[in-house]
């Protein structure tokens, strides 16, 4: 096991060295990575210039949700986000080269396209999260500290599962285009806001059926010590880790099924 991990570490190292040969692009990317989340924060603040509250939540309270989401998403994006390159691998038949090596397909793909370029977003997300908690006046208890530390982590597991689950679409549908992004980036945008601002079928689908409500919304309610405007009991926040585990299990099964399908239909 340790030996296996060492091999993947070497693959990651090779990828990082390879990218270092494009130094200017690397630095531009690190900077560019900060622009998009900054604009997202400004968008939230712009909403609060015309409205005092959003779904009953103040700007710092919404930014707590945004901060959890941003940190969790950036963690997932850095570790497994590059799985979206599977589209290229399948379309150009590059998966063949991966399949003839004595290593796992998923492990190789994650290591082969590993990039540190998205890592700056983790720091930015965490900074927003901490600042928002301070402004929202979170009353820190040991339980809340645990939630503050763990929510971005299990949120990352959840987003990582979404990345992998959505990527498997590429095995079945060669020209899947932006379909997967609807769930990954779309899901991130969904969880950046309190879910009670969405309505009807859309909320039921994304928040509960797909589980996005458990990434940031319920943990944020626990941190803020507020009851759920939608009426679910307080302990629901503790379901979040279970939702993440279920998502991870589903993603693993979907992935296995996808690889098997690829092998029975070809590139």
């Amino acid at each position: 096991m340790a030996e296996r991990l060492a091999i993947y570490r070497r693959l990651i190292g090779a990828q990082v060295r390879g990218q270092a040969s494009y130094r200017a692009s690397f630095i531009l990317d690190l900077v560019g990575q900060l622009v998009a989340p900054a604009i997202d924060v400004l968008a939230i603040l712009a909403v609060f210039r015309v409205a005092r509250t959003l779904g009953g939540f103040t700007a710092p309270e919404v930014l707590v949700m945004f901060g959890i989401t941003a940190t969790a998403f950036a963690l997932a994006d850095t570790t497994v986000g590059n799985i979206e390159k599977i589209r290229e691998y399948v379309r150009r038949g590059l998966l063949d080269a991966v399949l003839v090596r004595p290593l796992s397909v998923l492990g190789q793909l994650l290591a082969l396209d590993f990039t540190t370029r998205r890592a700056t977003r983790i720091l930015l997300g965490a900074a927003i999260f901490v600042a928002a908690c301070a402004r929202a006046g979170v009353d820190w208890t040991p339980a809340r500290i645990a939630v503050a530390v763990l929510a971005p982590l299990w949120g990352a597991v959840f987003f990582g599962s979404v990345f992998i689950g959505a990527a498997t679409v590429a095995f079945f549908w060669i020209d899947s285009g932006e379909f997967a992004n609807g769930f990954t980036y779309g899901g991130r945008d969904f969880t950046s806001y309190p879910i009670n601002v969405y309505s009807g079928v859309f909320r039921r689908l994304f928040a509960y059926s797909l589980g996005f409500a458990f990434v940031a919304y319920y943990p944020a309610l626990t941190l803020l010590g507020r009851p759920d405007p939608l009426g679910l009991p307080g302990w629901i926040a503790w379901v979040s880790p279970l939702v993440s585990l279920a998502a991870a299990l589903f993603a693993a099964l979907a992935w296995r099924f996808g690889v098997r399908h690829y092998r029975s239909t070809g590139s």
Binding site: A14, G93, A97, L99, V100, P102
Partner: protein
């Protein structure tokens, strides 16, 4: 000791969707590989030949664990390729021309070092093999060049190296000389000849390039429309498809009254009757005997012997309809081969769009 590659009734179907009308699509099942039997012993070098879309690459993918067969039994090194993919990967080396195993942005040397870890080769073994491959493939001048800056010929030599560094029992090569210049082609062929003649690595290579086959492969498997249409030596192929050696002679004076000789046809003659072309079908006189007869006439000035062109034979073979019987050795003369030409080119272009090409 069982065969290194043991394949029975191998079949692979693909579903192909075709647009028919504005929105309607029709789906077809196409058999890219349609009942292939193949047994390859340790140390053999096998040429797997066929036109585009014949099923060469698809077969290779099923042998290497990339694709799951629709039906049929496959064993490579005693393993079932898809379900034992990782174990099999340690026993085989693969060069898929267009799908590189090398790290694009890193010096070539780094890819070899990574391969040592991926295939878990003991350092001393790795060093010994790398030293040998560096010498045989003359890698030293570009070992520190990033792969993206290598010429195609250099890159192919790198691909061969990385495929062999873990000492595989079988080396699979998909179009190893495609796109290479003459010098690089010769270098690759010379290396593979050396590999064939030393050690006991089994080599299976697909190619379009008949010169690869002539130089490298004692055994030739020709596949067309997913079926094996020939399995044997090159000589057997010539014999079966009636290819002829030609004897071209220059005479001092026109030949008069040469009686009909068994197995010899006079194909062409110059107007003055002093240069003649004879063809030999192998059933009667040998080239030597014919030359002896001609020499006896006393006016022989020059002779040359033309070997049959493998291209011609293969072209005839491709034009022939795929044999319906499961016995690929059933004799079919060149006459029937040519008569079967009509329409088969059409169906080939359609299957060429199938995956795996």
């Amino acid at each position: 000791m069982s065969a290194v590659i043991d394949v029975h009734g191998l079949r692979k179907e693909f579903t192909v969707t075709k647009r028919s009308g504005r929105l309607r699509r029709t789906r077809h099942r196409i058999a890219a590989v349609d009942g292939v039997d193949l047994v390859v012993e340790r140390g053999e070098t096998l040429g797997y030949l066929g036109p585009n879309g014949a099923g060469k690459s698809t077969t290779l993918k099923m042998l290497t664990g990339v694709l799951m067969p629709t039906s049929g039994a496959v064993r490579v090194c005693g393993l079932v390729p898809v379900s034992q993919r990782r174990r099999l990967a340690s026993h085989i080396g693969v060069v898929f021309g267009q799908r590189s195993q090398l790290w694009w942005d890193l010096p070539l040397r780094d890819s070899f070092e990574l391969a040592r870890h991926i295939w878990r080769v003991p350092p001393s073994e790795h060093a010994a093999r790398l030293a040998r491959l560096r010498r045989d493939l003359e890698l030293d001048s570009f070992l520190d060049t990033p792969v993206r800056q290598l010429s195609l010929g250099q890159r192919m030599r790198g691909e061969l190296t990385i495929a062999l560094l873990h000492g595989p029992a079988v080396l699979f090569l998909d179009e190893p000389t495609i796109g290479l210049d003459v010098v690089s082609k010769q270098a690759v062929r010379a290396f593979l000849t050396e590999l064939r003649d030393t050690g006991d690595t089994t080599v299976v290579l697909t190619t379009h390039d008949l010169a690869d086959i002539e130089r490298l492969c004692r055994r030739l498997v020709v596949i067309d429309h997913g079926r094996v249409v020939h399995d044997g030596t090159l000589a057997a192929l010539h014999e079966r498809y009636g290819s002829r050696r030609r004897v071209l002679v220059e005479l001092d004076e026109p030949l008069t009254g040469l009686e009909v000789l068994p197995g010899v046809t006079r194909e062409a003659a110059s107007p003055d009757g002093r240069s003649l072309t004879f063809s030999l079908d192998g059933s009667g006189l040998t080239a030597g005997e014919l030359v002896a007869r001609l020499a006896a006439t006393g006016s022989l000035r020059d002779i040359s012997v033309q070997e049959p062109e493998i291209e011609d034979v293969i072209a005839r073979l491709y034009a022939a309809p795929a044999p319906r019987s499961s016995d690929p050795a059933s004799p079919s003369g060149p006459g029937s081969a040519i008569s079967g030409y009509s329409g088969s080119a059409e169906s080939r272009t359609s299957s060429a769009g199938a995956p795996g090409s």
